[in-house]
Symmetry: C2
């Protein structure tokens, strides 16, 4: 309990510090042995460890993950790692937004205990050759459009969970499919970490916060909230009994009309196993990925439980 | 230190108990949640955990693994699990020797703290779909003859390491290639377990102890020690400067003449990366797999460091 009280006081300090930009810089660790040593010492002391794995480019969604971890855990490890193995050859690895200095400043303000910021060669040294794959009967949603993407995610997440020896790890619900795959990975491989899904944080106009939003020009930024608006409307129509496919197709058409260059998918699926839900009951969600300018935006919302009321 | 002394006394008790077959039965756990709870409690108490993963059919080689673990760790988990995913469709999964009662008696005598004996469905429940693969440039030694075998090993070992949250895990050097793959797996995935290789235990006539020896009839049992004899002789010839390939080919021919039905490989390779060693320096080993009756026997020995003297 002492720990909990100390943390609450800490939080007040954090808010003060955020105002005056004071306080100590966050500890940054860039190598695996240093991280292992730090984590082993915490383990020895019986500290509960929370992991917030990110690719950097931090925004309000990440802040929410960090705060969820600070609520539950005694030590919070934030990782900033743009994992190359989850990018396809034609994807935006080189252009992915990087902002390490700002990210570490946010980490400091949020009183992250340790930031792990490895180079790719630290995570995948010469001779590295172990793959982790969560197989499904068929590739759906982002797995269809980004072959190999989730294998790269599974590989990096497995490494980060093992390295941090976290009691809990925090993932945003915006990347819903990723969250389900990580849950499955952890269950299948018996990794002793609890996976916590954290609700999507949105801008005032509904746009889901995302690092890739930074790549939107002003014109596209104005159009971007339509993605959330359309999947919300589709979910509402589905909840009221309208045919699922009709609601989804019309929502996709509306996005194209609004200025999106492509809708990779806009579908209603069950929340856990992501199977197509023709007449969705409890737990269905509408998922979408669409291209706007050079950016690929994704989002998802639950189908409201109107019928159950 | 108190723990260490207590353990030494324990060992004396064990030897007494072994004589009179007294003492308490070993704790047997068959489900993942029970194992997780037990391990979590040990972790909480700061106990050092050693894992001895086996497919049962215990023999003197396993006893040595258990004793190595008892030397180093405070709690020793023995697993008896004939892992189906490491057997090919034409292999001897159904006929693999099983002897649970005798195995648990040995575990009791050796003061194993806990035996984990899961059914296959406990390890691979419906919906399980995560693979772990340690890739190499080419498939060598047993990987060539048993496609998918080491993927199954990597998968099961990853699960058992995560489940046991072991500080150390013990593997026999008879399965040298497996030992190297497990080391690589643990390094690549940053699993916080130290992998300890334990020297091969041999019968008086040199035959490496192996569960599969039980399937040998009397006639084949008499021939079996030739495997060790021939690879030892080949290693000695190589150490003295004879051409590696000649030494290996002649050893293989001698095995066929002695009554082995097939020699899958008999090769000199470097100890760690298992690359062919044409003029072996320090650390080369001679590896062999050969069939005798229905059994597939493997063994390996170091090339002595004669040239270095």
């Amino acid at each position: 309990m002492g720990g909990r009280c100390a943390r609450r006081i800490h939080r007040v300090d954090a808010e003060t510090a955020a105002g005056r930009r004071g306080g100590r810089a966050v500890d940054v660790i860039r190598t695996v042995p240093e991280l292992a040593a730090r984590v082993a010492a915490w383990r020895e002391d019986g500290e509960r460890i929370g992991l917030v794995p990110t690719m950097g480019g931090l925004h309000g969604g990440h802040t929410r993950l960090i705060r969820a971890a600070k609520e539950r855990d005694e030590k919070v490890v934030l990782t900033l790692f743009v994992n190359p193995t989850q990018f396809g050859p034609d994807e935006d690895l080189a252009g992915y937004p990087r902002s390490e200095a700002e990210d570490l400043e946010l980490a400091r303000i949020e009183f992250v205990d340790l930031a792990f910021v490895p180079e790719a060669a630290e995570m995948y040294p010469p001779g590295f050759s172990t793959r982790v794959q969560v197989d499904y009967d068929e590739d759906v949603l982002c797995a269809a459009d980004r072959p190999g993407h989730f294998d790269g995610v599974a590989q990096a997440v497995t490494k980060l969970l093992n390295l941090s020896r976290a009691d809990s790890a925090y993932f945003g619900e915006k990347d819903w499919q990723q969250l389900q795959i990580v849950r499955k990975l952890v269950r299948d491989l018996n990794i002793a970490t609890r996976i916590v899904g954290v609700p999507t944080v949105r801008e005032g106009d509904g746009l889901a916060m995302s690092t890739r939003n930074r790549t939107l020009g002003a014109e596209h930024r104005a159009i971007a909230p339509r993605l959330f608006a359309e999947i919300t409307r589709a979910a509402s129509r589905i909840a009221q009994g309208e045919p699922t496919e009709l609601a989804c197709v019309e929502a996709a058409e509306n996005l194209i009309i609004a200025g999106f260059s492509d809708v990779e998918y806009l579908e209603c699926r069950d929340a856990e196993r992501l199977r197509i839900a023709p007449s969705p009951g409890h737990g269905a969600r509408v998922f979408a990925a669409a291209r706007l300018g050079g950016a690929r935006l994704i989002d998802n919302v639950p189908v409201p439980d109107l019928l159950a009321r």
